[in-house]
Symmetry: none
Subunit: 145 residues, 2 copies
Amino acid sequence: MPEEIAAGTLAAKLNHLFGVVRPADGDEYTFDEVAESIRTQGGPTISATYLWQLRKGLRDNPTKRHLEALAGFFGVPPAYFFDDAEAERIDAELTLLSAFRDAPVRQIALRARGLSAKSLEAISDMVDRVRELEGLPEPASDAER
Amino acid sequence: MPEEIAAGTLAAKLNHLFGVVRPADGDEYTFDEVAESIRTQGGPTISATYLWQLRKGLRDNPTKRHLEALAGFFGVPPAYFFDDAEAERIDAELTLLSAFRDAPVRQIALRARGLSAKSLEAISDMVDRVRELEGLPEPASDAER
DNA sequence: CGACACGGTCAACTGAGGTGGACCGGTGGC
DNA sequence: GCCACCGGTCCACCTCAGTTGACCGTGTCG
């Protein structure tokens, strides 16, 4: 049993890509082929050895341009190589925000920004009171972090 | 007129982020603050000087870890620095995001959701009044470049 | 069986990515 | 005025991302 490659690492992802995207004749791309192909397609130079290092996990932390090239070659978005948990967390946050598209709510949020803690508290209380008055349930808790 | 920063470059994006996501007191983050914040939040070390170089465009092509750290700090997915389409989508929501970053503000927004138009209007007015009282300027209008 | 080709592995080197620290203009307090 | 501090700019240096070139196993053609 040779080296373990921890799941979620860049090495694991690259490894998976090599296994999944293959040339017509069914066998995995060779490091030289990938390097060559990337260079001829206008990408930056990348050595076969380096590809090997990345796949084995001996090197993680490539530069932006190399990530772009790799993503381009395998046909995945560059985001593929980044941490899944964090990426998903942020995505969730962003979609949550789009739920607040609602112009009036946005208006309030934007303008509340920068107010003193005391004022914010007061406004928050007020919002809660109105909520009660209008018979709305407790909102989904902010549950975060 | 100093250096031009071509649109779509990493420098331009970083520059934009600095302008849009700001601390509570309205002024842009300083390079030291960003560097410090990233380090204390478990990120890799990143020097203030380097941040400056990236923003000015003297260096593009940072490593994966540094991209992760930057994206994490500004609250955008790492893809923001790659794909332009993605970047635009995110940009639309960035001002909102930075508002919601502030926990109390987010609290208010979350709870304001679903209130009647009338109530929202009332609250909005109230926020504006408080803003005046605290001597804050008109916030950047909702639609921003 | 040699000889050659191909592709993964390794180690040493190069240079770009990244840092530390000095310089400098602005600003606020004494 | 003068000094201390803060934040952007610059430059010399160092580390590590990325390359080079050799070694080694395997297969195949004469």
